[in-house]
């Protein structure tokens, strides 16, 4: 029982203090591992690899995995519950304040600056996925050949998806269809 409570408390703090997405939880998890001895940094590295290669938000995947390693199936549920409780509380407070002041000129002005910033961050996220999947920057720096800069087969797949999501007969297909087809293409062509 004490273990469950501690697990909940540790992940509650991780959820409360990690700001800016799944990767932000990693330093907190390292700290938990060192203080409690629940898992080693080597185990944590494995958990990160699995969290990145399974569907779902990475922070939630990490909490589930760490919770499971520490205390089995109840542990995975308790750790996840701990992680998301602060989010739910904070977001409900923020959303209810926003609802009340929706037409306020200050709130409106804040969103005026916030929206392009959010779009900039989405573009930056897109760029970071491009650099790890479509480009081979270390290879290019090693030999300076423009041909090695691009990961041609992945680039071809990305361009194909781009064109097909604009092509009229296939435009309405759900994004998941493209994700599944791309996964199949990855296995088929050994990308």
């Amino acid at each position: 029982m004490m273990l469950y409570l501690r697990l909940f408390a540790e992940f509650f703090c991780t959820g409360l203090f990690s700001i800016g997405g799944g990767l932000a939880t990693i330093p907190f998890l390292q700290d938990i591992g060192q203080r409690t001895g629940w898992f080693t940094s080597h185990e944590l590295a494995n958990m990160i690899a699995i969290s990145e290669s399974t569907p779902g938000p990475m922070g939630v995947n990490m909490a589930t995995y760490v919770g499971f390693t520490t205390a089995g199936i109840p542990g995975s549920i308790i750790a996840t519950a701990g992680l998301i409780t602060p989010s739910i509380a904070v977001i409900i407070i923020v959303a209810s304040i926003l609802r009340r002041f929706r037409d306020n000129k200050y709130v409106d002005a804040v969103f005026y600056g916030l929206r392009p910033a959010s779009t900039g961050l989405i573009a930056a996220a897109c760029w970071s996925v491009i650099t790890i999947s479509l480009l081979d920057i270390p290879g290019w720096q090693a030999d300076g050949q423009l041909l090695t800069l691009f990961n041609w087969r992945c680039l071809l797949l990305a361009v194909a998806v781009f064109l097909l999501t604009r092509f009229k007969p296939t435009r309405k297909l759900h994004p998941v269809v493209w994700i599944l087809l791309s996964a199949a293409a990855g296995v088929l062509f050994q990308l």
Partner: protein, 180 residues
């Protein structure tokens, strides 16, 4: 269908289909939540992502809570959030039980190279869809460019970028006398 069940299942699907970080869920939310269900607009989705960046917790969870709350109050927020985390809990528990070497399987690595290439395009499409409503004049275009480069080149924290941009937006509006 029961509204809460609808919220739960919609976000359950989103959670099960999101590969590779919070932003990968944006194209799926645009299709399911904005186009199919009409629970939020593209602009609101952009706002929620930005607020999710500078509030505590996982961005995907914050966004789910936001949409659920906006549509159906506190219970709606909880239903959406449980929906988005359930696939993770189920999948990770199964992998932890039976497939600890999952990430090392060659087929998984190949599938993920394919998925990542596809996610590049899907996120790009998502950004193209919202940029018209976000970049409406010169100051907003400058904020976009500055945030992109500060994030890519210097790796500045997204939460700081969002907060500073909001303050700059407030300053611009104030300087222009609150009109437009």
């Amino acid at each position: 269908m029961n509204i809460y069940l609808d919220l739960f299942t919609t976000f359950f699907r989103t959670g099960a289909c999101t590969f590779g970080g919070g932003y990968a869920m944006l194209p799926i939310l645009q299709r399911d939540v904005v186009e199919n269900k009409g629970w939020a607009t593209d602009e609101e989705l952009t706002d929620y992502f930005a607020i999710g960046q500078c509030t505590p917790g996982v961005i995907a969870v914050n966004t789910a809570t936001f949409i659920g709350y906006k549509y159906k109050g506190i219970l709606g927020g909880i239903a959406a959030t449980l929906g988005i985390v359930c696939p993770s809990v189920i999948i990770i528990t199964i992998i932890a039980l039976f497939l600890r070497t999952f990430a090392d399987l060659p087929a998984v690595a190949h599938a993920f190279s394919g998925i990542r290439a596809c996610v590049c395009t899907l996120i790009l499409n998502a950004a193209l869809k919202i940029w018209k409503s976000a970049l409406i004049d010169l100051p907003t275009a400058l904020i976009f460019v500055a945030v992109f480069f500060l994030s890519v080149l210097w790796g500045l924290s997204p939460s700081i970028l969002v907060i500073v941009s909001s303050i700059i937006g407030l300053g611009f509006k104030r300087a222009r006398g609150w009109n437009t």
